[in-house]
């Protein structure tokens, strides 16, 4: 892969253009990583591709090897793997609360201690998620309670 960087003070904003013989999964992954840097996530819904603003995402969840992206209004699907998203979105305030769920801290409405050292998380849209025992400790640490 050839990388060329052109520094031009006359350009008003940074522009990235990808030139390739065909759109391979590697190229798609690269584009999706660049979009995360630009606070956008490529998602799909009913066969259409959308560019979703990361700030809108409440949480992400894997189910039957598929990754779903939940916003206040709709549910989308993404081809990215959970561990990739966890790395890419960590800087945007996302963290894991269970093996299958990644959520954004700013969209949490309240927390409540649950049985077996778990934490019941109420999101701003009223949905409830459970932070499993292992990740509940990490959440407490993240909040400075440990």
């Amino acid at each position: 892969m050839k990388i060329s960087i052109n520094i031009n003070p006359d350009n008003p904003e940074t522009e990235i253009s990808v030139t390739c013989p065909q759109l391979t999964p590697e190229v798609e992954k690269l584009i999706s990583m660049i979009r995360v840097m630009d606070s956008k996530l490529t998602v799909k819904k009913d066969g259409e591709v959308f560019l979703l603003d990361i700030g809108e995402i409440l949480y992400l969840e894997t189910m039957e090897r598929k990754c779903f992206v939940y916003t206040d209004k709709a549910v989308y699907e993404t081809d990215a793997k959970m561990y990739e998203l966890e790395q890419q979105l960590a800087a945007s305030g996302f963290f894991r609360v269970s093996k299958s769920t990644l959520l954004q801290l700013k969209h949490i409405k309240s927390l409540r201690a649950d049985l077996n050292h778990r934490i019941r998380i109420t999101m701003q849209n009223g949905e409830q998620l459970i932070a499993s025992r292992m990740y509940a400790d990490e959440l407490r640490e993240r909040l400075g309670l440990k």
Binding site: M63, F68, V75, L105, K106, I108, S110, A113, L115, I119
Partner: protein, 171 residues
């Protein structure tokens, strides 16, 4: 993508996990314990005395007593399932859940002890002593647990608000 459909799958999966792990473990434990005791029990009084002395049990391990143990264990399991899961009751407080669970378990065990006549020499005075002794402990336990639960929730939500404000300032 239908959001409700996704949620139903999640609920079904977590319900399945819950029932699978807890009830299977509990039922297997009870069944194995009862089965082992059942095959080692005897209806002859000499054999029962011998088993009682080996296992240091208060009464005879007759087959009918073991069946009563089994029924009591199953009832305990049902009570625990009801109070420790969201299947039937949606109680938010852990302290209230556990307190209610113990109250119902104690009532159930008391009824079984009384109806099955497990301890032959239990008299009314014993029951009164049991209630007087257990009730204050249970009430005090509930209030202590409830207070610490409320404090923990308050601390967590306060820390969450602080963290959210910090992240908002940074962005």
């Amino acid at each position: 993508m239908d959001k409700n459909r996704n949620k139903k799958i999640i609920d079904k999966k977590s319900l399945h996990d819950f029932v699978y792990t807890t009830s299977l473990a509990f039922s297997l434990q009870t069944l194995i314990a009862t089965f082992v005791m059942f095959i080692s029990s005897s209806e002859t009084s000499a054999e029962q005395s011998r088993i009682s002395s080996i296992y240091a049990t208060p009464g005879f391990l007759s087959k009918s007593t073991l069946l009563q143990f089994f029924i009591a264990a199953v009832l305990t399991g049902i009570i625990r399932h009801i109070f420790l899961s969201d299947l039937i009751l949606k109680i938010k407080s852990i302290a209230l859940r556990i307190s209610l669970m113990f109250v119902f378990e104690v009532i159930m065990v008391a009824i079984v002890v009384w109806r099955c006549n497990w301890f032959h020499s239990v008299r009314v005075g014993h029951w009164i002593g049991f209630v007087i002794g257990a009730l204050p402990c249970m009430i005090a336990g509930f209030f202590m647990a409830y207070k610490s639960e409320c404090r923990e929730n308050e601390e967590m939500n306060e820390a969450l608000r602080k963290k959210q404000q910090e992240e908002e300032k940074q962005s």
